[in-house]
Structures are given as C-alpha cells and as structure tokens.
Subunit: 417 residues, 2 copies
C-alpha cells in the first residue's frame, strides 16, 4: 500500500499537453463565439465566455486589427434594450470573405469538395466519382488534386488558407498519417505531407466522423451545444464527441472507436479481425451476412451489397420475419451500444447520423426506449436522441470547419506552436 | 436531408456551460500548477500554461496578495542556470497552513477522515467503524459529524475552509444530491445540504471513484499526467477520468459508469436490475454467485462474503479448476471492459485500483495482453496499465483534493458563480 508523500511534492514539468482537452486560446474562443453567433455584441461575449469586459475589448480589437472581425451596427432587437439613448451599440461579425478554406470528404461512391469563407459562406463545390479500392498514396493524392482544382475553378481565384480532408479509417490528426483506411493500400501513409507537397497548401486530416461532428457543431443539430455525441452507422459504426465546445479525439488522438467496443466476449467476427465488436452486429456487412438465409434461395445471386440490403429491408417491411429479425437484432445491439455511450459520457444529446439511418429499424421507438431502459436510472431526463441523414456535402463542410479551426488556432494562439 | 444554412447563422446564447470541460480560470490554473509542483518559478509557470510572462506576474501577485502563495528563494538546482549573476531568482510555493480542508471517505467497513492544509500537508486523521446498511439521511449526517469532530480534535483548532465527502453510488456533484447509494435508504437524498446544515461548513460531494481519481492526480500515479483513466474493482466496477488535468464527470456530471456498460446482450443479472453489465461478471458478488458450485458442498455455509471470496481465491491458487475458471472468466471480461476504455478514450495510462486488486487473476499478464489484443492495432504503443491497491486514507485525501479544488475555484474564479 503506497501512501502519498506527506508534504509538498517534487516538480512535474509542463502539465498542459496539446493532445489533451486544454482550452483554446482566448482570442480563438472569442473568434469562434462570433463565428457561431453570426452577429455578437461585446457584452454577449463577456457573458458567454465568462471573461472581463476589458479583456473582451482588447481581444476583439486585436481580431479586428487582424482583419478577421468587423464592427457593424447592432441589429434592431437590441436597440430598445441597450441603445435607446445615445449612439446605437455596435456588434461584431466575421469579415465576409476574410479568408477561404476548402473541405473534402473522401467516400466510397463519390469524393466531395466545398469552398467556404471564414464566415461559413459557400463559394463553390465539386464532386468526383470514387470506389472502395485501396489505393497507393500517389493515386489518392492525384484524385484529391483533381477534386481541389475543380472546386477552385468554381469558387473563383481567391486564395485558400488551408484544406481539410476527412476519410474513413484510423487517422492520426496530430501527425497527419493514416494508420489504416479502406482508401489506402498501405498502413501508416503520410497523407498530410503528400497532399501538402502536391497542393502547396496546409492540409489537415481527420477521420470522417470527427468531421461530421464538427459539421454538427458548426452548422447542425449540435450548434449552441457545449457537449454532445454523434453516432454514425454506415459501412461501420463511428462516434464523435464534443466536450466544452471542442472536438474530443481521445487522450492520444485516436479514441471514440465505438464500432470496435466489444459487446460480446468471443462474439461475431468483425472486419477488424477481432470478435464481438459492436459493428459486427450493426454495420452493413453484419446484416448482409445473414441476408441469404432470410431471402428466397437463389434470389440474391449477383446482387450488389447495397441492393441486397435494400431488398432485405423491403422484405422485412413486407412481413418476412427472418429478414425483420436481422434488423431487430441489429437495433437491439445498437441500443446496447448507445446505452454504453450514455453510461460513460452522460450526454444530453446523441445525434444519430449516416446514410443507413433510412433503415428505420435501427432507430425505431423501441430501440431508443431500450437504450434508455438499459442505462441506470438516475432520476433525470434520459439523453435526447436526434436522427440526421446528411449528404456528403455536409461532411465536406465539416472538413472546412476542421481546416478553419486549425488555421485560426494557429493564427490566434497566444504562444507559437 | 437537411442542409446547413448558407451564410452566417442566428445567435446561440452563452456557449460555455459549467457542466462541460470548460477551462478553469487562469488564476486557479496557476495556483494548481504551483501546488502540484511544490515549488515553481514564474518562468516555469509561463512555459507550463502557455501564457505570457506579464500575465503570470500579474496572476501570481494576486495569489500572493490573497495569502495563497508566497515567495521563497529558488532551490539550488536553478541557481547555476538562471541566477549565476545578480540576485537569486525567487520561486513560489503554497503558503504552508494557508487554509485547511477535511476529506471523508464513507465505506462499508470504516469511515475515514483526514485534515490537510492547502499545500497538501496532513494535520490529522480519524476513523469510525461502519457497515453496509442503508441509513436515513439524519443517521448518516450524525455519523459524519462524529467523524469530523474526531478529526478536528486531532488536527487542532485551525479553522476548516470546506469538507469533501466521497461515497459509492450515483452522486450529483453539481447539486449535492445522491441519486442512489448503498449508504442511504432513500433515493435523491440532499446530503450536501444536510451536512452543511449540521457542520456549518461548505460541503462538496462526489462519488468515491472520482475522489480516488483526484487522489491519483494530486498525489499518485497520475501526478504530472494530463490525461489518464482510473478503473476500480471493489463491490462494483468504477471509473474515473482526467482530461486536460481536470476531472471529467461526463457532460451532465454522472458519466463514466463503466460497471454498467453492457458487455453482453441479455447477459448476467446485475445488482442494478439490468442484464449484461460489466460488473455482473467482475465484481465481488458476481464471483460469489458461482462460489458454492466450485467449492465442496457444505463447506461454505455461513461464511461471510469476504471470507468466502478469499477461500475461493485460495482454492483457485491451490489448483481447484472450477474456482480458477471463475476468476479467469472475470479476468477475461475485465480485459474486454478495459479494451473498451482504450477504444473510446485512447488513454496513455490506465490505473487499476481498489482493494480487490489483490486477486491477481484480475490483472494477470494475460488479462492485460488480452486487453491489448482486443483493441484495434493502430501501430502505436498500447495503453500502459498500472496496478495500485490503496487504503481508505488515500481515498479520503482525494476528498480533501475535491474540497480544495472546488474552494479555490470559487475563491479564484474570475467571474462570480
């Protein structure tokens, strides 16, 4: 039994690390607050961030001087309250066109790009057909370069500050490598470096679910929420988390692999080669494994996986009990996975997102009721669940949010990195 | 498919919430850094917190003026480097005896209290026998008051700033109520208010695992770590988490219920009344359920649960294969639970803690190897696991850390709550 030292203890060295959930610099918090609000007053910033009025004045002056914020007349809703006497109070907004970023979502059917300015206004988009082949790094780099050129052609000549790229897989945001992705033939590919070389622009990578989570935070159901979880069901099961208004990636940057949390010891075989992972019960390939058993013999030969899944779903809806039980079991496992999210993160809001949300067995009333029933009763309202089915363009907008967030953090950090 | 708004978006209201992982006020960060270091220089604070030297000068002056920090001559290790010419640089430390807090751990065998000052120096302890009966709120309040009186008698007359109390159960730290605890006969008991009434002091409650996690952060294996997880195995399975040097309680304050995450759909019955919870496979009561089957008929009649568990463990060690398989299965489920912690939080360090860690089947080599094998291979070193078996006094010290942390946060907050 090792007791603690009796008195003061020897030195620690620096205690704040970049990878942790340390706060963003105050300047960035002010900028992001104004960006999220659209139009914000200094007194609103004071209240929202809990810092002194003097500090807000100083920080906003700095942001105006850097050309990121500008003053405008405060909108009428406040005139009666604060501005009845004397000159109308001024408000702040992000300078329209103050800078541009490009966001990219790589996916199995189509790659998507979008150009926005710092205020979030869209200036151009582009798409290119894709497929799920693993590629060499060079080939993927060329695909991205082609997509970027197309989006820039539509958006016009204004220069880009940075590019954000999101893709499925295990992406190390901090060092810009991809430990594993369905799009890359080799593990550990230095995709960020390769793209920066090819594009001549700063590139920021992340996994696609983190990007979608940023899109929810900046533009979607998570806007104005300090803390929420996003769970996606597509080829796999993904999770994103916002804590204190910021994306949380796990202590070392590669957490939140909900799809590979185990829900059964020695359970069903997962694509990752292990057994009992949540996605081995919920993802497309898990449902497809039993499809042939549920459908008429011979009826499924040579169907594409997507068509087969649609067929299975239609039959389940039409009364095929074997087909229905496949979706029902997936729904029960999903409710179990969601109850684990509730139990560990205690979110007020879980956003269920992804193309497969159209299979409504996965989020039927009884799935959400079972999620609540599986979690401890702590005498509070249960976590709220919202369903979204967003297109790839929104994921790409999440990538712009990623690029903008990293760029402004760099620009506005009080200490150089 | 709901697209995002095309341009700037309407207002959000305040974006930072108390329950989230918002940063502590800078003054508190400075104070906590000095407290953790024991002795710290201003330049060390500048480096560690990433704020300007001017701001550090201002904040430390304020802390000195409030009587919390004092200047001392910098210890010799720095003299050659920085202070060779001119006067020796000054360092800072927490003023010894600058304030006192009392920490309490309520447990099934014994209640423990300890008095420390703000610098962490211990001034007195007390214990009182306990039991696992559910009590009325009045009775528990009197037990605590008796314990506090005994600890104060030993610590001397210096006044206390606050009391921290940790107990098993679902404790709402923010509002000071206990949704459920083995020590309380009624759900939702306003324990904080009752204790404040009785003691005439500010009281801060938390569940015992959060307290132990604070003890690890302030005094133990988590010192100098910005991010780590603590998993405890006792009557139940608990978890604590430090993110960015701060205790994380979940978005709404009652997360991290690892023991009640589900590891099997419709699995073993848990004390909570649900099925398939991790602790229904790992906690004491889970092991005891099968004990009678593994031991000689009649040999276990009228044994106390603790003795029975010891007997089961001894027999497993001595070659009773049925007894061994009980611990081995528990170990496999524990490895599964730990791999889920790795997958979701990606910690560098997991501290396994609790009295039951003496049953070494639970943390045998193969349990830790299986934890690593069950998690995705991301080409990085796996999470490190450390084993601690600490006594109740350390949990009580965690409660002092809780009291001190909340009190200084209140004292030093830049904006009044």
């Amino acid at each position: 039994m090792a007791g603690p030292a009796p008195g003061p203890i020897a030195g620690c060295g620096p205690r704040l690390r970049d990878g942790g959930q340390s706060a963003s610099p105050l300047r960035q918090q002010v900028f992001e607050h104004v960006r999220a609000e659209g139009i914000a007053t200094r007194s609103g910033i004071t209240r929202a961030l809990g810092i002194s009025g003097g500090m807000v004045t100083q920080l906003t002056a700095d942001l105006i001087q850097r050309g990121l914020l500008e003053e405008i007349a405060d909108p009428p809703r406040d005139a009666g309250r604060e501005g009845a006497r004397g000159r109308p109070p001024t408000a702040l907004r992000v300078v329209p066109g103050s800078g541009r970023v490009l966001g990219i979502k790589l996916s199995e059917d189509v790659h998507t790009a979008v150009v926005t300015d710092f205020a979030g206004v869209e200036h151009g988009t582009a798409t290119r057909p894709s497929d799920h082949r693993p590629r060499e790094l060079d080939e993927l780099t060329e695909e991205v370069a082609d997509l970027v050129a197309a989006a820039r052609a539509e958006a016009g000549p204004a220069p880009l500050s940075a590019v954000g790229v999101g893709l499925a897989g295990m992406v190390d945001h901090a060092d810009g490598t991809v430990a594993w992705s369905p799009f890359l033939a080799r593990q550990g590919a230095p995709l960020k470096a390769a793209l920066e070389d090819r594009l001549g622009l700063p590139v920021h990578l992340d996994n696609d679910v983190n990007m979608l989570t940023l899109a929810e935070l900046w533009f979607g159901a998570g806007r104005c929420k300090a803390d929420f979880a996003v769970v996606t069901i597509e080829q796999g099961v993904g999770m994103g988390l916002v804590l204190g208004n910021r994306l949380y990636r796990g202590a070392r940057g590669m957490g939140l692999e909900l799809g590979h949390t185990k829900v059964q010891l020695d359970g069903a075989l997962c694509r990752c080669g292990r057994r009992g992972c949540l996605e081995a019960y919920v993802a497309d390939y898990a449902l497809l494994r039993e499809a042939a058993t549920a459908l008429a013999p011979g009826s499924t030969a040579q169907m594409a996986p997507g068509d087969l899944l649609d067929r299975l779903f239609d039959e389940a809806k039409a009364g095929n009990r074997a087909a229905a039980t496949i979706f029902r079991r997936a729904g029960r496992y999903l409710s179990l996975g969601l109850s684990n999210v509730v139990q560990l993160f205690d979110p007020e809001l879980i956003i269920l997102s992804g193309a497969r949300m159209r299979y409504d067995y996965l989020y039927a009333e009884e799935v959400l009721a079972e999620m609540t029933a599986q979690a401890l009763d702590d005498q509070r309202p249960p976590a709220r669940v919202e369903i979204h089915a967003w297109g790839d363009l929104v994921w790409a907008r999440g990538a712009t949010a990623l690029a903008l967030s990293v760029e402004t953090e760099r620009l506005l950090g009080e200490v150089a990195p």
